[in-house]
């Protein structure tokens, strides 16, 4: 119980730190980025929108910093993030549209990578010294140091050359009307294939290696030897005895990685012009659309915080040692 409260406390402090960061950064930075942005948009936006920015970022207002700070906190908690300059709709609507694409693409890919990687790790450790076990770790050391947007670039090069009609950017074909019909679903899947592959290639190694290493340690335990002595079939020892106990690091890692879904593939979304959270974050940065950028950053951080909390709870639930330990 004390443990849970302490984690909740940490959650609250970190959330506050992020909120405050969002508030302080634009006011603190040299060269006044907000004025810069206002000058850029002057004459292109209606005066009302400009006034809203002035209020949001504390320019030419006579309210004190502290009042501004509490106004900002109030706005954030009521879900009022202001208008997006470039998308010309409320920030919350932009996010509402983008978040599903990211969840769909990267969420599904993360789950796939976890399942595949864990299975490969289990088999690799079970057949220790086999060919799978021999090539994977060194290959993984190399792939882990490749920037994954570059893998995406290579995919675009390769597919663009050999499969001329395969879609290389966007979430669906230009002009297609979104709906639950077969052609559209096929279209979406086609567009998702390359970015998903780029993420899969670079993220699967972590799952494989963690699973394999824990599994190797568990396989040396006495109860596994006992199971062998009893003459249990190999697959039962592998899954019910060893893998079940070796899963813990990977499972809590999985809970964490779900939180990193929103932030995980900013560059992949950018590279493939896939209209998700990361794509809009970089668009917002490019156009100095600070309101949208702040809201996206907050959303990403909250997702991670919730996931960290979930991972903690999961570990505590599954592993009694953590409960008594702290």
């Amino acid at each position: 119980m004390r443990y849970a409260l302490r984690r909740l406390g940490f959650f609250a402090v970190t959330l506050w730190a992020c909120l405050t960061l969002n508030f302080v950064l634009p006011r603190l930075m040299p060269g006044s980025p907000i004025l810069d942005m206002m000058a850029k948009y002057h004459g292109r936006l209606n005066p009302k929108a400009l006034q809203a920015i002035e209020v949001a970022f504390g320019i030419q207002t006579h309210t004190s910093l502290i009042v501004q700070y509490f106004q900002y906190l109030g706005n954030t908690f009521t879900g009022n993030f202001g208008m997006s300059l470039t998308q010309t709709e409320p920030v919350s609507q932009v996010i509402g549209g983008a978040v599903w694409w990211t969840l769909g693409l990267i969420g599904v890919t993360t789950i796939l990578a976890f399942i595949l990687g864990t299975l490969i790790g289990i088999v690799g450790a079970w057949r220790r010294g086999g060919w799978l076990d021999g090539i994977l770790p060194p290959v993984f050391v190399i792939t882990s140091s490749i920037p994954f947007f570059w893998i995406g670039m290579l995919l675009i090069l390769f597919v663009g050359k050999f499969f001329v009609h395969f879609p290389l950017s966007g979430a669906y074909s230009y002009g297609a009307t979104p709906g639950l019909n077969w052609p559209f679903i096929v279209d979406v899947l086609q567009h998702a294939l390359l970015p998903a592959l780029a993420i899969l290639i670079t993220s699967i190694g972590g799952w494989i290696l963690t699973m394999r290493n824990t599994m190797v340690t568990v396989l040396a335990e006495d109860y596994v030897r006992m199971a062998r002595a009893k003459g249990l079939p190999g697959w039962r020892i592998m899954f019910d005895y060893a893998a079940r106990n070796a899963m813990l690091p990977n499972l809590s890692g999985f809970a964490m990685s779900l939180g990193f879904v929103l932030s995980g593939a900013i560059l992949v979304e950018y590279l493939f012009s896939y209209q998700g959270i990361g794509y809009y974050l970089l668009q917002a940065v490019d156009n100095q659309d600070y309101a949208l950028m702040q809201a996206l950053f907050l959303l990403i951080t909250v997702a991670v915080l919730v996931a960290v909390l979930a991972a903690d709870v999961l570990t505590a639930l599954l592993d009694p040692r953590t409960r008594t330990g702290s």
Partner: protein
């Protein structure tokens, strides 16, 4: 070289054995690692090649990397080993010259990040009490906030910042994992006899931290540095790829930025995208291989079941360790 370092310290005469020998051991270990461990040797050789490229780019590539002086989008030839890009620049010269800035970013920000980790981690462990709580809370928060979006958000407010803010932000956001590790190690040293002895001798705190604690942690500090360097190579390249930093500078990340802007992928200019990306991957791999090898050597338990230290999987690996 390691002999002279050891002798120099022993000439102090203040503490025979102890830390001086520890750092001598580490230096010897590094050298032995490079000689005997294949991974370490491969990493060291790649790094040495890039270092030569960074030191003598003009001797290796005779073309001016910035000049728009050649035919556009030429294929590889004897005149242009990697061809030219759509702007008429020589790609071989760009790749060679790009090593300098990329290496500087990796080494300088890696070193600065490691020093910050040492300050935050060791101070927290050594000072204890409220200091420990405070410093640890800051480190924990930075560990949890997703680093890459944070980098983007901070740099977004510095649109014309160039390279220095980019590196500064990398240092500030990247120190936390190392600080975590160093704090744990320093905590485990706290009750050791040689620190007690120093305290009884009446040494001052800075002396104990710099002469007693830090030298006995060199191999972990090395691992933190290498891990941070891998991460910084990739993070800096990614940031430059989306246009942060100085787009007119010569580095592999900026080359990728121009390749993307010049539609290199769509127009079949393969080498424009492949050469810098491959160099980044190789440089990252060199640091990762060295790190992996030191891990194996420094921790005999891992020699059979080699675990990997990675900056990306960091937060939950710590958690997993804490749990087990």
């Amino acid at each position: 070289m390691q002999i002279s370092a050891g002798a120099g310290q022993a000439a102090d005469g203040s503490q025979p054995g102890g830390p001086a020998r520890a750092s001598e051991r580490t230096a010897g270990r590094v050298w032995r690692a490079v000689r005997t461990n294949k991974k370490a040797a491969a990493g060291a050789i790649i790094l040495a090649i890039f270092a030569i490229m960074a030191l003598f780019p003009g001797q290796i590539a005779h073309d001016n990397p910035r000049a728009f002086a050649y035919g556009r989008s030429l294929g590889p030839s004897l005149h242009h080993l990697l061809g030219t890009n759509a702007l008429g620049q020589d790609l071989f010269a760009q790749t060679i010259w790009g090593a300098r800035e990329t290496l500087i970013i990796a080494l300088a920000s890696g070193a600065a990040s490691t020093i910050l980790s040492m300050i935050m981690g060791i101070a927290a462990a050594y000072l204890g009490g409220l200091w420990d709580h405070g410093l640890n809370l800051i480190t924990d928060i930075l560990l949890v906030i997703p680093t890459f979006p944070l980098l983007i958000v901070i740099l977004a407010y510095l649109p014309h910042g160039g390279l220095v803010p980019l590196m500064a932000v990398l240092v500030i956001t990247g120190y936390s994992y190392g600080a975590r590790q160093l704090r744990a190690e320093a905590l485990s040293l706290r009750g050791r006899d040689f620190l007690e002895a120093a305290r009884v001798r009446g040494e001052r705190k800075p002396y104990i931290i710099f002469v007693e604690i830090i030298p006995s942690m060199t191999s972990l500090i090395m691992a933190v540095f290498l891990g941070t360097a891998v991460y910084n190579v990739i993070a800096a390249a990614s940031l430059q790829f989306i246009g942060f930093g100085d787009p007119s500078s010569l580095s592999w990340g900026t080359m990728l930025y121009w390749a993307q802007n010049g539609e290199a992928l769509q127009t079949g200019q393969y080498l424009w995208a492949i050469a810098p990306g491959l160099c980044i991957a190789l440089l990252g791999a060199a640091f990762a291989l060295l790190n992996y090898a030191f891990d194996e050597i420094g921790n005999p338990a891992l020699q059979r079941v080699a675990a990997r230290r990675s900056r990306y999987t960091a937060p939950w690996r710590i958690r997993a360790k804490r749990a087990s």
